[in-house]
């Protein structure tokens, strides 16, 4: 029942946008052309403390911003110039992709500076369905698949060739054993999606629209989505990194349907059977409202939905020539070969 009310609320909200002044193309269609900064401090999933509450107060929203500012300030604090090397065996930091060796300073990070506000109300999460604002529980087979797929993250970083102690291919065998973001093939964190989610940095998008296509350039890894309007999906044999997207207009809303993913969609949990429906609506001259529903019978027992706003930005979308500077890949693979050559089987 609550879900129904929520749907009604969202429909009512969108209807209200229809009457607002929005930019239009020569043919009268809503005009999405422009650059957007999609960063928000509101998390994808709702912190459990908020329970089923989709909204938070301005005070709570301010606290989220203050916490981020504090984290940034802490990261910018000066250090002892005579500091010693970090501890041998790792520094114990496994957050932020740090893998026990640390990541990099916070000045490289840009997660946004505001909490998500829709219709004057602050949101506790981007996800609103399921009702608790959290991804549905993964099916057991999906959990096992994840452990395998991300073995190089999940096995920790002991500093020796642990993979030689296990059967089967390792995450270090070659470039193709690495994740798509390691390989500069796709941005991480589902930044290009679909669904397109805000991530650690480079949350800019550029939309270029014509009468029969809408192109979305994602800053991270130059992910480009080309949405064909009033078209049909390609044959199911054809599989694409970001799926095959077709769109049509429902009033002033662009509805985009995406199927035909590979085994590695932007959403790291999903499979080739992921199906995403997105709804793009200009809610005023400078704000795009982005809503999505995703489902994948191999991963979740139920669909999940979310929404957030994309404010237009005067800033350019910068180049992200990932392959050209991806020295990390060479270091990872050469390092793995070196550790393998030094590996000594454990005494039984």
């Amino acid at each position: 029942m609550k879900m129904k009310l929520l749907s009604l609320l969202i429909t009512a909200t969108l209807a209200q946008y229809a009457t607002a002044e929005i930019p239009r193309t020569a043919s009268g269609k809503p005009n999405f052309n422009g650059n957007y900064d999609t960063a928000t401090l509101t998390p994808h999933q709702r912190p459990k403390a908020f329970g089923n509450n989709l909204y938070m107060s301005r005070e709570e929203a301010d606290k989220v911003v203050a916490a981020e500012n504090e984290a940034q300030a802490a990261g910018e604090k000066e250090l002892d110039p005579n500091r010693e090397a970090p501890p041998e065996g790792g520094d114990g930091n496994y957050a932020l992709g740090a893998g026990g060796v640390g990541g990099y300073n916070t000045f490289w990070i840009a997660r946004g500076d505001t909490s998500l506000e829709i219709d004057g109300k602050f949101r506790t999460s981007i996800l609103y369905q399921p009702e608790n604002g959290r991804y549905p529980k993964m099916l057991p087979a999906a959990g096992a698949r994840m452990m395998k797929k991300y073995a190089s993250f999940s096995k920790g970083n002991p500093g020796y060739a642990w993979w030689l102690e296990e059967e089967g291919p390792s995450p270090y065998d070659g470039p193709e054993s690495r994740t798509l973001s390691d390989r500069c093939l796709q941005g991480f964190g589902s930044t290009g999606g679909p669904p397109m989610m805000p991530t650690l940095y480079n949350n800019f998008k550029r939309v270029v629209q014509s009468e029969d296509h809408v192109m979305i350039l994602v800053e991270m890894v130059h992910d480009v989505r080309t949405i064909r309007l009033d078209s049909k999906h390609v044959s199911e044999d054809i599989r694409l990194w970001m799926g095959d997207s077709i769109g049509h207009w429902e009033g002033d809303t662009l509805v985009v349907d995406t199927t035909n993913f590979t085994d590695n969609p932007g959403n790291g949990r999903a499979t080739r059977d992921l199906h995403v429906v997105e709804r793009f609506t200009m809610q005023d001259e400078t704000t795009l409202h982005y809503q999505f529903t995703a489902e994948d019978p191999n991963t979740w027992a139920e669909p999940w939905s979310g929404e957030y706003t994309w404010p237009k930005s005067p800033d350019p979308v910068y180049e992200y020539a990932c392959h050209e500077g991806n020295y990390a890949m060479g270091s990872i693979l050469r390092g793995a070969r070196l550790l393998e050559s030094e590996y000594k089987p454990k005494e039984k």
Binding site: R83, G99, Y135, S154, P198, C322, E324, G330
Partner: protein, 140 residues
């Protein structure tokens, strides 16, 4: 796999799958060796303002007084560009201190876990002596 790593695995899975907003381009754990911590000190020789991650080169003098050419990995330069910081902000010759871990391939590469100036201020956040513009002092 011992218990510690099992716990770490659980925490990592939570990080990977449930808070993508705090994930990074690649696995630092795959690239850097936790058993080779280090401190590097010396003048910047070159800045590679490249994606996915910028690299800052420096000339480190080792315990034997020999000069070594090192490079340390940072983050995406795009973020800093938006803060008014560019590849010329850090001039060659700027003395920096880096603590981090060496690359697993044992080349003279390390992660820029912490990069500071000689006085301990964070690189790009330091005084005008670095050439960092005022608007580079913090997030907008």
């Amino acid at each position: 796999m011992n218990k510690t790593y099992t716990l770490i695995a659980a925490a990592l899975l939570a990080a990977v799958y449930y808070s993508s907003q705090v994930w990074a381009h690649h696995a630092f754990s795959a690239e850097f060796d936790p058993n080779r911590p280090l401190v590097l000190k010396g003048p910047v020789t070159r800045v590679e303002w490249v994606n996915p991650h910028a690299w800052i080169h420096l000339e480190h003098t080792n315990e034997n007084g020999e000069k070594e050419q090192w490079m340390v990995e940072g983050g995406t330069p795009n973020t800093l560009l938006r803060r008014g910081v560019n590849k010329n902000t850090v001039k060659p010759g700027t003395y920096i201190i880096v603590d981090g871990y060496q690359s697993k391939d044992r080349s003279q590469r390390a992660n820029g876990r912490n990069i500071t100036l000689a006085d301990g201020k964070k690189l790009f956040m330091g005084s005008s002596g670095t050439g960092a513009p005022e608007d580079g002092a913090g997030p907008r």
